[in-house]
Symmetry: C2
Subunit: 322 residues, 2 copies
């Protein structure tokens, strides 16, 4: 049993491999930046941890495995070029599942036009997928560390959707929702925001960006810590899928808000800009909904609701993947 | 249970992802070649398949996990620049083991001067390590497909050493060897031949290259198939660690020769050159022993011993990792 948690382990790794021999941006962002401004990210999905192989549709799994990696590239202001796929095949896996997995992979490849250039296929007691994705920024790389006091904080899409989908799958939903299919889709088929970031970097100055994988509060904290800033988050502005939740929302607001604050895996973009962005125009041009949810500050990390400061501890922080 | 074997699965993947959108060399070589001539390879090691976590020294495991990836870069005529490490941590893994793993990783990093720029840490039922390594060719990328009829075939080091080490570990050794520690070291700590390939590409024309991971015969066949050539291999010239095997060699020659033909994971380089190479000079300059073992031909794949053709079927082919 490992006593060091996920972040402890990453810290140990970082320490062992410092300082760098070459000029490059490494651990601590959504992707590394190497020569020629190439962006490199790697993400693994493990059976029993990130999905259940006897429940998940393998076409969705193929799509999602690449989507989460492309999302990291999008968060760095880029688009995907080359992918490398490693499959750890367990005895439970059938040929049909692999064919479906490749169908989903093929679908997302056609959408984002990247090439699969290699990988590894190995036997494993536990089925796993490990993908490395190499991409390139549309303009220049965006990082988590560029936020400046005064920046407006924006996020794309709705917050907490994927977490609602996951609670449904795990049969831990405390309160029902109306549009179940919507939340399942948001969990199984996250959409990397490549077109959005392409539009944004072309028309606006974006100072920092991250994709929401650990949860809104956790990921906003990552931006603040890396940028050495604070933030003032307006909880009432956080976009929640009220319509899809339906009648149960108003009775159980705090439950759904908690998921919106801390639920992970939405793979939406959270970014900051020194100027206001015309949200309606972005929606019209890219088809993606963005919302201003607060400002970057010089001070502490504060959350407000109806003008009052909310007790930070009362909100569950972004979850650790361990 | 997957009915398609390793090569069947790779074929399926290749088919699903063709043709490529961009100019790049992908699946089928030791590493992919992307823009800026960067080389990318990825290799995974899985507990219970490639090593046993309750038997292996984790410092060796850390070293080897990176070594096998660097070996792929060396086989492409290059040196490593950037690494990405994914660890799937099972419940059996202790903090001490991870510290030792990182010590081994640190050791090989210092030797080959690459940077670790990222990765992923996840929980997993089975402990696994997945590494992506990005490198650059010293001169230009070497491939498996460049062999020409008339080329001399060379290999570095001795053949079958790692397989002898593995048989010892698995307690399946049919005949004892004298220098046990030597074979264990050759299995646990393969040495990527970066210095050798640097010297070779500087002084000689190298038409094709591969690292011996599937076994000498299997990997020579890969070169021949990709280059659309045949070969004439002189079995008597294949370098075997006779001295380290000791007195038992002469009595059990066919057993040790079989391991030399088909044993995998030596991570030596197998390469072809249109001109004879001064083996003694290479040894003096690089410290690595190379041996000419045959010629590339227009014809079939033939193996000779004492001037006579050996029945190809009598030799076990290079093993599939599945």
């Amino acid at each position: 049993m490992l006593k060091a948690g996920e972040f402890g382990l990453i810290g140990q790794i970082k320490e062992n491999f410092s300082p760098l021999y070459r000029k490059a941006i490494g651990i601590g962002d959504d992707a590394a930046i190497i020569e020629n401004n190439l962006l490199v990210t790697t993400d693994a999905l493990v059976d029993g941890v990130h999905f259940l192989s006897d429940k998940i549709n393998f076409e969705d799994l193929g799509y999602k495995s690449f989507a989460v990696n492309i999302s990291d590239i999008a968060a760095m202001g880029g688009y995907p070029l080359y992918a490398f796929l490693t499959l750890g095949i367990s005895k439970a896996i059938q040929d049909k599942q692999i064919r479906e997995f490749l169908k989903g992979a093929q679908k997302i490849r056609e959408k984002f036009k990247f090439d699969l250039l290699g990988g590894d296929t190995v036997s494993s007691g536990t089925f796993f997928i490990s993908i490395t994705m190499i991409g390139k920024p549309f303009h220049k790389p965006l990082t988590r560390s560029g936020a400046k006091a005064g920046d407006f904080i924006y996020m794309s899409g709705k917050s907490g959707d994927s977490a609602i989908g996951l609670e449904m799958i795990k049969r831990q939903m405390k309160h029902p929702v109306e549009n179940k299919a919507y939340f399942l889709m948001r969990h199984y088929l996250p959409e990397p925001r490549v077109t959005l970031i392409q539009y944004l970097v072309k028309h606006f100055r974006i100072n920092s960006c991250i994709d929401v994988s650990d949860g809104l509060l956790g990921d906003l904290s990552h931006i603040a810590e890396m940028s050495k800033t604070g933030f003032s988050l307006d909880a009432d502005k956080i976009p929640i899928s009220r319509e899809e939740i339906g009648a149960f929302f108003s009775k159980n607001e705090s439950y759904f808000k908690k998921l919106a604050f801390s639920g992970g895996e939405d793979y939406e973009l959270l970014f900051t800009s020194p100027k206001k962005i015309d949200e309606k125009k972005v929606l019209k041009e890219t088809g993606v909904f963005i919302t201003e949810i607060g400002k970057i500050t010089d001070g502490n990390k504060n959350i407000f609701s109806q003008g009052k400061k909310i007790n930070w501890k009362s909100i569950k922080k972004g979850f650790s993947h361990f």
